[in-house]
Symmetry: C2
Subunit: 304 residues, 2 copies
């Protein structure tokens, strides 16, 4: 297809956090821990485990401490990370022994205003002490830039606005920056426009693309990103992350779908497909809907 | 993204035939007719209405005559087509006033053997009198080449084998040839390999790509095909065509998803998205599962 495709891609499994945070059926800590252990069996080395946010805001993730306790220390070669919105969250994460944190902002001013009542610049200033403290303690830091293509309130976002936020997060010392099509609005042309601006202006190996499959474009968008040299993606087991009130609505780019794509393109990823599917199967029965991933439900191909 | 993208794409809506043929809930002829009228409202000019196959083989399409009667003559600018497996089917289609027929073979020898107990060459000889007769009467003829990427019995199919069948169908006088990834096995790299062989060797405007979304790759594969200059696609309202016994299984490339992609890429298609969605909504409630299309279920984007 193209010489520009990367040889290997790094996948961060965000199913336990981004995938589960909006699920309304209560999922026990022991089930989450079993899910995460199954993800490790599948070969995952980067797993976003939970968020240290206010329990009343995200009830599904209220067991963050208990989950880390159930998991114990991360196995050799595996990094557990957790979302941390502020110093209180950082304290909790530190207590739980977390070695990688993620902070969160958006490319859209309206989105930040509505969500945290701050400008983009203010939101970054809010977590400057968090990232400073984390870095001083040797923690790895991820920065999220959401609504990088379209904002549910103001519509299309200019790539230059995304680049501006990405650069600020780099200046804060983020080791990696996950740029998200939060509402799954992008077509491959949008991804091309975004990456035409980002890729020449940032260090490529710090860029992670975070796609949602809300409109069925996630795999096509990942393919476009690979053509631009993107080497790291977020993905979610079974496509967790959809809106639980909309039957048929899709969530994050499904890890299974991404594996199928990468295998087809001959790009290494280090994951075992069947073990990934087993991991998704540990969580699927505890939801009130079927998993959104196409590949998860598909029979194996002859010869595979 | 690329200068090679076509300016306009022609979509053949195959929901009423390929989409419904495996649905096990009985759908009344009046509902099918209303569905097809709604598709015309959405701007469709090419609709595959049904099959004139043995009613005991495909019970869902046993009302082929009644459906054409309910529809009446196709409106100006609209072509109704029907699948015709043999001379009996052609007779029935002719009686019903059909002006475009489709014949059906596969690139895989094993698939033909198991389905119609004939080699690929024999299957083509079987329908030679059908296409001769149809052409003599001035009917348009479509040829299907299924399993063009992978066969459920023998696995991967070589692009050269597909080219061979496509050429034979061209020699038979088929006006267009729909090349199908019948089991949704392709990744974009497979589509690239296939089209690298087909496109230089056939007349591009006779080629139609028929994709299934079984493994979530349909939109990515359509994108790859557009890069190769493909100008015509089959698609199915709401993504009809999945296996009704596998919850979450996907069917044909959904017309809504294709429209979203083409709009994103700035490629004309002549369809009205909301009217397409209304057409899908006429049939969705009569199925025992939700429609597979992602875009069908997604909320409108701000500004759209």
């Amino acid at each position: 297809m193209s010489d520009a495709l990367p040889k290997r891609v790094r996948i961060t499994e965000v199913g336990p956090r981004d995938g589960l945070q909006n699920e309304h059926t209560h999922i026990d800590t022991t089930i989450k821990a079993a899910f995460i252990r199954a993800l490790i069996e599948a070969g995952h080395t980067d797993i976003e485990v939970t968020s240290f946010v206010r329990p009343d805001r995200v009830p599904q993730l209220a067991d963050a401490e208990a989950l880390f306790q159930a998991l114990g220390p991360a196995p050799e070669g595996v990094t557990y990370s957790a979302l941390v919105p502020n110093m209180t969250g950082l304290e909790r994460a530190r207590e739980a022994g977390v070695r990688k944190i993620a902070v969160f902002t958006a490319a859209s001013e309206s989105f930040n205003q509505r969500n945290i009542n701050a400008t983009v610049a203010e939101s970054i200033e809010h977590f400057r002490p968090v990232t400073n403290e984390a870095r001083a303690e040797g923690l790895a830091v991820r920065g999220y830039v959401s609504t990088a293509v379209c904002c549910p309130y103001e519509g299309r976002i200019e790539p230059d606005a995304v680049l501006d936020v990405v650069k600020r997060l780099q200046e804060l010392g983020c080791d990696e920056i996950s740029v998200g099509d939060t509402i799954g609005a992008a077509s491959p042309a949008d991804i091309a426009r975004l990456l035409d601006v980002l890729v020449p202006n940032i260090t490529l190996d710090t860029l992670v693309l975070h796609l949602h499959d809300t409109r069925g474009m996630a795999v096509a968008n990942a393919t476009e990103a690979l053509r631009h040299g993107v080497q790291a993606f977020d993905a979610s087991a079974g496509g967790l992350g959809g809106c639980p009130f909309a039957p048929g609505s899709a969530g994050n780019l499904a890890t299974e779908d991404l594996i199928f794509l990468l295998d087809g393109l001959g790009i290494e990823h280090g994951l075992d497909f069947e073990a990934q599917r087993r991991a998704s199967a540990t969580i699927g029965p505890h939801l009130d809907h079927s998993l959104a991933s196409r590949v998860y439900h598909a029979p194996p191909l002859p010869g595979d």
